[in-house]
Symmetry: C2
Subunit: 359 residues, 2 copies
């Protein structure tokens, strides 16, 4: 039966082209995401390993390297000077947004592949410089949209392509979390516009709805309207403790989306079409469950063991596979740049309270 085949293939890698080979990563930035998620994810991966970790602190770099059996723990200065450059093939940049450019520039100079966390940088202009520097040096650049290697999201995209929705009509995305409960530090970088860029909720949370909708539908926004505000004093420096936007995507698909850094945790992405509906809930932070509905029937498929570490294992292996096979990278620099242009337009639309067009 078709459904049984589909279930059997559900969690499989439809993208893998390299049966063997190893890409050696240098991980730049040793926050909790890198230590708790990225390092274990690469340890579990098939096509890559961590050989270098890079931090502002020599002590921390050495300690983390030791704890994880990584060959080199070096400082940012060491990294820029090319220390241990022969020991890695690619870098994973997981620093605050506003530092991505400088690490990408050095990677390009050293002829290393660049896997850059999203959003690419703190502004469109700085993200463009990443694209240019990687282009000029002819090094591969990928933006780490881990939703794009999540099996539930990939299967949802296949269903869209297969016409499951009929004509897509409307999209809803939400990504909310209680940031100050998760990280009870008012000096954290996500609240500092010098480090985060345009703001706190669209850059960090709304980007999931935006990018996953673009990925699933292969359609980009052509116009956006938006509202944002920061009622809580911890968010005084950023405009968007909470944000909402209304976008029209190519082909007249309407999208509404909300994000908040000070709200009950909830993630949902729902695409309604003329003939059916696809929904991810939870949508964005591991353990995606996919709901596919037609008429009165809903199929619910989850990949129960899947979590953020596994998502990142897929991500690191995917980029490794692209490097080993020289296959086309889907979420490339231009793709990531489009997200930043959309985010910039959302902030501009909220500022001006008018619709902002995107080319």
């Amino acid at each position: 039966m078709a459904f049984t085949d589909w279930m059997t293939d559900y969690a499989g890698r439809d993208w893998q082209q390299s049966a063997s080979g190893t890409v050696r990563y240098a991980l730049v930035g040793l926050g909790w995401w890198t230590t708790d998620v990225a390092l274990p994810a690469i340890a579990a991966a098939e096509l890559c390993e961590t050989t270098v970790v890079v931090s502002s602190s020599a002590e921390k770099a050495s300690r983390i390297a030791g704890e994880h059996g990584v060959d080199y723990g070096i400082t940012y200065d060491d990294y820029h000077e090319g220390v241990a450059a022969d020991a890695y093939d690619a870098v994973y940049i997981a620093t605050p947004n506003a530092f991505h450019l400088e690490y990408a520039e050095t990677a390009a100079q050293l002829d290393k592949g660049v896997l850059c966390e999203k959003p690419m940088e703190a502004s469109v202009e700085r993200a463009e410089r990443i694209v240019n520097v990687c282009d000029d040096a002819d090094v591969p650049l990928m933006v780490a949209y881990r939703m794009q290697t999540d099996p539930a999201v990939r299967r949802a995209r296949e269903l869209v392509e297969d016409g499951f929705l009929g004509e897509p009509v409307q999209v809803y995305g939400n990504n909310s979390q209680p940031l100050l409960e998760m990280i009870p530090d008012r000096n954290q970088w996500r609240l500092n516009p010098e480090l985060t860029g345009y703001g706190a909720s669209v850059m960090d949370l709304g980007i999931y709805s935006i990018n996953t909708a673009r990925y699933l539908l292969r359609r980009d926004p052509v116009t956006v309207e938006a509202r944002m505000s920061s009622p809580h004093e911890a968010f005084d420096a950023v405009p968007d403790e909470r944000s909402s936007f209304l976008a029209v995507l190519e082909g007249d698909v309407q999208m509404v989306s909300t994000a908040s850094q000070r709200a009950h945790a909830d993630t949902q992405l729902k695409i309604t079409g003329t003939d059916g509906q696809l929904e991810l809930r939870p949508a964005f932070h591991g353990q995606c469950t996919l709901y596919a509905s037609k008429g009165d029937v809903t199929a619910e498929v989850s990949h129960r063991s899947f979590d953020a570490v596994e998502e990142m294992t897929e991500e690191f292996d995917y980029f490794a596979d692209r490097l080993l096979s020289e296959a086309i990278i889907y979420p490339d620099g231009e793709h990531g740049l489009t997200d930043l242009r959309i985010i910039e337009a959302i902030h501009q639309a909220a500022d001006t309270e008018t619709a902002v067009g995107l080319d």
Copy 2:
């Protein structure tokens, strides 16, 4: 335990003030909603009965009256002439939107209470005339927002008042259906702007999200932005086969909402707060299920036997109870008028592609 008490009270009528008494309704407009839902709903009710049915066709009026054991089946002309006026105390107006005013005018002349289907009329101006004519004649006027007597919605409102959400942050509403599959008639009145008013999806579907959010939060929109379009030829005469809006409610609560008359059927209303989340899904057409979430815990409460007939039984008994007890009517004419002002502003915002303020 508090939760057990709460469950026990869940489906109860917190509004009933009259232990006995009977209000006699004349039902004006005999479409499927009146025959399949309203008549059985009143037959099951405690405080009311149907004594008159009114249609354009004398034959249909007599036939429906006979089938349902109703005393009088009369024509619209008969109604305007006061035929059988001694046989009823109140009218229920369930005609196409653009005819509500004329039946309300006659009801007011005849000193009858008016239960008017939503939206109140085809325009703000005509709805204002209903309010004025009822005010001048001093007859009670209620708009038939049946969500407001749905037990799940009333319990959700109590939870909001109890502070369950913390501070409300964001609201999402969707109401979509495949109208042409449900009623395969391209000449139906909902596609005719002369009869429906501003359009097809906000007037008929979006109004549920708008009004239920207003009811639950006791907050009205202060500004709206919107997009709408009618890609399918059956919707050529109306601007909004599909529509989306972004509103800011009083107290800086952001709301996004979508509606479509040509899409997979789905209803959802979700309110996210700083401390919790309340969600209705399905939300609007009977069989509401309420989800209440805090942290990692979600309680799901449904009222499984509840359907549209029971919703309308509550509605008819509620209005009967208001008439018998002379208690305050919550969804009164001003309340319904506010919805029409919001809908008008949504259409204006979509036309002009700019934010429209509401006083």
